[in-house]
């Protein structure tokens, strides 16, 4: 249903570049009546997330408040910057029913399937 479109580097690139925008890690799970996308947005507050659906492209953008490393840096495993990632939605997703929630730095997107895409159980009479 989705193709994950790369639009930003991995978090382990551009470590020294303070203005960098990173591609957040994400899982896509298919359930019976819906898809669920879990996007890691550590350090992000609700008011700093922007979700934008344009035709088939669902884009997540998040602003991250800078977290300076004060002192002598000894280890740099990741860069801190804004997040951006676009997911391309297939025909099976009901655009009207998309919901999102953010908790503990994890954004969960619920994408219900269209009625036509839902499994239908046929009763045997």
């Amino acid at each position: 249903m989705t193709t994950c479109v790369t639009c930003a580097p991995e978090r382990t690139e551009n470590l020294e570049h303070t203005e960098a925008t990173y591609r957040p890690a994400a899982d896509v799970i298919e359930l019976e009546g819906a898809y669920r996308i879990e996007v890691e947005l550590p350090g992000v507050k609700k008011e700093n997330v922007d979700l934008d659906l344009k035709e088939d492209a669902l884009t997540v953008r998040a602003t991250v408040e800078p977290r300076p490393l004060e002192g002598t840096v000894r280890l740099r495993g990741y860069g801190v910057g804004n997040f951006e990632r676009t997911f391309r939605l297939g025909k099976k997703v009901n655009r009207e029913g998309i919901r999102a929630e953010l908790a503990h730095g994890l954004l969960t997107l619920h994408l219900p399937k269209t009625v036509a895409a839902q499994p239908r159980k046929i009763e045997i009479v």
């Binding site: 890690a25 899982d27 879990e38 890691e40 350090g43 977290r67 002192g71 000894r74 990741y78 994890l106």
Partner: protein, 147 residues
């Protein structure tokens, strides 16, 4: 969050020479890690920095809550461990996976001992920050020159 202090679980190695101590600064725990400290995973990624009085470690643990993470300090080592359980839903199919799942345990070793009674850890919106004060014996001491 649980900040646990361990004492005496592992024999402290006193035979390391100075060169080795400095080379090991901030490296992950070496392969001879005793069972109690077996964690050597590369997850979570960490940033670490140092000021005169303390080391600071930051790790990104999106989706984790305090109860899911354990911080342990022993001597000059910090261990961050935890577990992410997968949601079990009927007929769920993983379409695409990038997020870490399961147990993790990452150990960082510092060049000097830490004051385990003053370690502070905070988890905020999926970002863990640990402040590890250096042990008093490790702080620089000014020696007066007698006239």
């Amino acid at each position: 969050m649980l900040v646990r202090r361990d004492a005496g679980l592992v024999p402290r190695s006193s035979s390391l020479d100075i060169d080795r101590l400095f080379r090991d600064v901030f490296e992950d725990f070496p392969t001879w890690a005793p069972a109690a400290w077996s964690g050597t995973s590369k997850y979570p990624a960490v940033n670490a920095w140092e000021d005169d009085h303390a080391y600071h470690v930051e790790a990104e643990l999106a989706g984790f809550q305090e109860k899911d993470i354990e911080i342990t300090v022993l001597g000059n080592e910090l261990r961050i461990s935890g577990r992410r359980e997968e949601k079990t839903e009927e007929n769920a199919k993983v379409y695409h996976r990038e997020r870490y799942v399961g147990e993790f345990s990452r150990v960082l070793r510092f060049p000097v001992d830490l004051d385990d009674s003053k370690v502070e850890a905070k988890l905020d919106h999926g970002v863990l920050r640990v402040r590890l004060p250096k042990a008093a014996a490790a702080l620089p001491r000014k020696i007066e020159v007698q006239g």
